[in-house]
């Protein structure tokens, strides 16, 4: 049993890296707009299906298909925030959060309406797992890990070095001060909705690459993504990465004594544990 631990750790890091992508999207949206956006789930699903169409119908390979996932999910995120969620914001974050649940159910059913309930698999070349002694690593997993790391690097570079990225951090940090400095908060909100939901879409497709996708793909992953963001500290982007790795590894290690279907329960327990012990999360602000 103990001999499985190294394998589980490797799987956990890979799963965590994938989880970090939508978790960054979620936490970035939270940082700027200050509400838990549950419609992340359906945007992940939309991304997964956009990538699926690009991959199986248009014959794109993984990376270009991921770009499609980003663009389509981002665009839907931008439009749905502009026309559905934005009007709620003045009514408070709870109304907005409830609205985002209704939105996610609506969007999920749009996907179901178009694609049906059946499982769909990506068209990927069959590859044999690499073996290192007792350890098995799938080439696709390594590719996913590499993609996630690149995505994270791009996000960090964007936030650190570009004017828009800095403006985004300013709005997240202190909206009124950012406003005084002439930063257009509405524009930043649109960019963060687009990029955040685009990342959710990429995350949805990365999750789907390992297995298969259906209209509930995003919803099943949602608890883990929220766990990653909360464990790391809602609103903190480095926190989302740390949280995602923690949750990813925790979920894999739980396989030692629980069945795989309990993955999302582990995510929930992680949320509870962190909120009891350190409500602000590992790298975040106060939660009460």
């Amino acid at each position: 049993m103990l001999s499985e631990i190294p394998q589980l750790l490797i799987n956990g890091i890979m799963a965590g890296a994938i989880l970090a992508v939508p978790a960054i999207g979620l936490t970035a949206i939270y940082a700027v707009l200050r509400f838990p956006n549950f419609s992340l789930a359906s945007h992940a699903t939309i991304g997964a299906f956009a990538g699926y169409v690009a991959n199986t119908q248009l014959g794109f390979s993984v990376v270009p298909a991921l770009f499609c996932a980003f663009l389509v999910a981002g665009l839907v995120g931008l439009l749905s925030d502009e026309f559905v969620l934005k009007p709620f914001r003045s009514a408070g974050f709870i109304t907005t959060a409830i609205g985002s649940i209704a939105l996610t159910i609506a969007l999920e059913n749009v996907v179901r309406f178009i694609f049906g309930n059946s499982l769909n698999g990506y068209d990927l070349p069959m590859q044999r797992d690499w073996r290192f002694g007792d350890l098995r690593i799938g080439p696709q997993q390594v590719e996913n890990l590499a993609i996630s790391v690149v995505v994270m690097a791009v996000v960090f570079a964007f936030l650190s070095f570009t004017r828009t990225g800095k403006a985004m951090r300013a709005v997240a940090d202190n909206p009124s001060l950012a406003d005084i400095k002439g930063i257009d908060a509405a524009r930043i909100a649109r960019i963060v909705s687009f990029a955040g939901m685009g990342l959710a879409g990429v995350g949805g497709m990365l999750i789907g690459l390992d297995t298969s996708i259906d209209p509930l793909t995003g919803f099943r992953a949602m608890l883990s993504v929220f766990a990653a963001a909360v464990v790391g500290g809602l609103g903190s982007i480095p926190g989302a990465v740390v949280g995602a790795l923690t949750v990813g590894i925790g979920e894999e290690l739980s396989l030692l004594f629980l069945s795989p279907s309990y993955r999302s329960v582990i995510g929930f327990l992680a949320i509870l544990l962190v909120l009891i012990l350190r409500p602000r999360g590992i790298l975040g602000q106060r939660a009460y």
Partner: protein, 314 residues
């Protein structure tokens, strides 16, 4: 047709019980609970398991279901008592999801995704299908009435006033010497007892429960009920539940009129319509049909005070 209407009535009654429960938690105390369906499931499973596996009488099962709902409510409230609302939203939603995963996997207890069938209904065999439905409708109506008057009483009692004070500003309530956390926990307990009761009744009425029934959409239906009727208002909760069931059922008739849709597409379209309706309602009618009553039923509220007091604006 009568039987169908009676069944709709029973659904409306069960939704009304849940909306009344939510009204205590959200409407009166202003606490977020996006995991309503979890407490509903706790009640349903508790009562179903006690009556099918241990053969306890239905009445005992239903009481235990409500009690278990309250107990779990207390637990969730204690864990989350100090959290900000947005975290409470995540935790309660996650709680309901985690519970559904557990119910799907602990096959030894819950029979997994197959669900529990053959849950006994009161006098089901003696009354025949139509008689049973009618009897259950009367039973549910009586319970809704009882809970309604109890919660009305609660709402105008000093306890209800403290809850509303906490909702509007919990620091002021604390300064006034109220033990805020204790009140929040009690509000959760009372509300979740109503949710558990509704769940238990649901199981005994339909004789079958399964994890797939307890989806977040059901939570939304109840939010929709309370929003349609008016948050903070018990009468609104009941009226809203009736309206929501009527609306949900009417979509059932509209969908077959559209040609060329598969069963999955029809179901998907129905959920799109329902969630779309919630979005529209949330957007344009946060006050609901029956706005929250003033602290006294006979003294009219001042104009303009409504918007300030609605918890959706908190």
């Amino acid at each position: 047709m009568e039987n169908y209407l009676i069944a709709m009535g029973v659904s409306a009654g069960i939704y009304a019980l849940m909306a009344l429960g939510l009204n205590v938690i959200w409407g009166m105390a202003g606490l977020v609970n996006l995991g309503l369906v979890g407490f509903f499931a706790v009640g349903a499973y508790t009562s179903a398991l006690l009556t099918t596996k241990l053969g306890l009488p239905i009445l005992l099962g239903v009481v235990a279901g409500a009690g278990m709902g309250a107990l779990v409510g207390v637990l969730v409230a204690l864990i989350t008592a100090r959290l900000r609302g947005d975290y409470l939203a995540i935790v309660t939603l996650g709680f309901a999801e985690a519970l559904r995963v557990i119910a799907s996997n602990e096959v030894w207890l819950t029979n997994g995704t197959d669900g529990i069938s053959g849950i006994p209904g009161p006098f089901r065999a003696d009354l025949g299908p139509v008689g049973f439905n009618l009897f259950f409708l009367i039973l549910v109506a009586a319970l809704v009435t009882a809970v309604f008057f109890a919660f009305e009483r609660l709402s105008y009692s000093p306890f209800g006033r403290v809850l509303r004070a906490i909702r509007d500003d919990d620091q002021v309530a604390a300064v006034a010497g109220k033990w805020v956390i204790a009140y929040k926990v009690q509000a959760f307990a009372i509300g979740c007892a109503a949710l558990g009761l509704a769940g238990a009744l649901y199981g005994h009425y339909t004789s079958y429960i399964a994890p797939e029934i307890f989806v977040p959409l059901l939570t939304l239906y109840i939010k929709l009920s309370l929003l349609a009727g008016g948050v903070g208002n018990n009468r609104g909760a009941v009226i809203g539940a009736v309206l929501v069931v009527a609306f949900l059922e009417s979509t059932r008739f509209i969908i077959p009129l559209l040609p060329g849709l598969s069963a999955v597409q029809g179901a998907a379209l129905r959920e799109i319509i329902v969630s779309g309706a919630l979005i529209v309602l949330l957007r344009f009618r946060t006050q609901g049909l029956v706005p929250e009553a003033h602290s006294h039923p006979l003294i009219p509220r001042q104009p303009g005070a409504a918007a300030k007091e609605s918890p959706t604006h908190a």
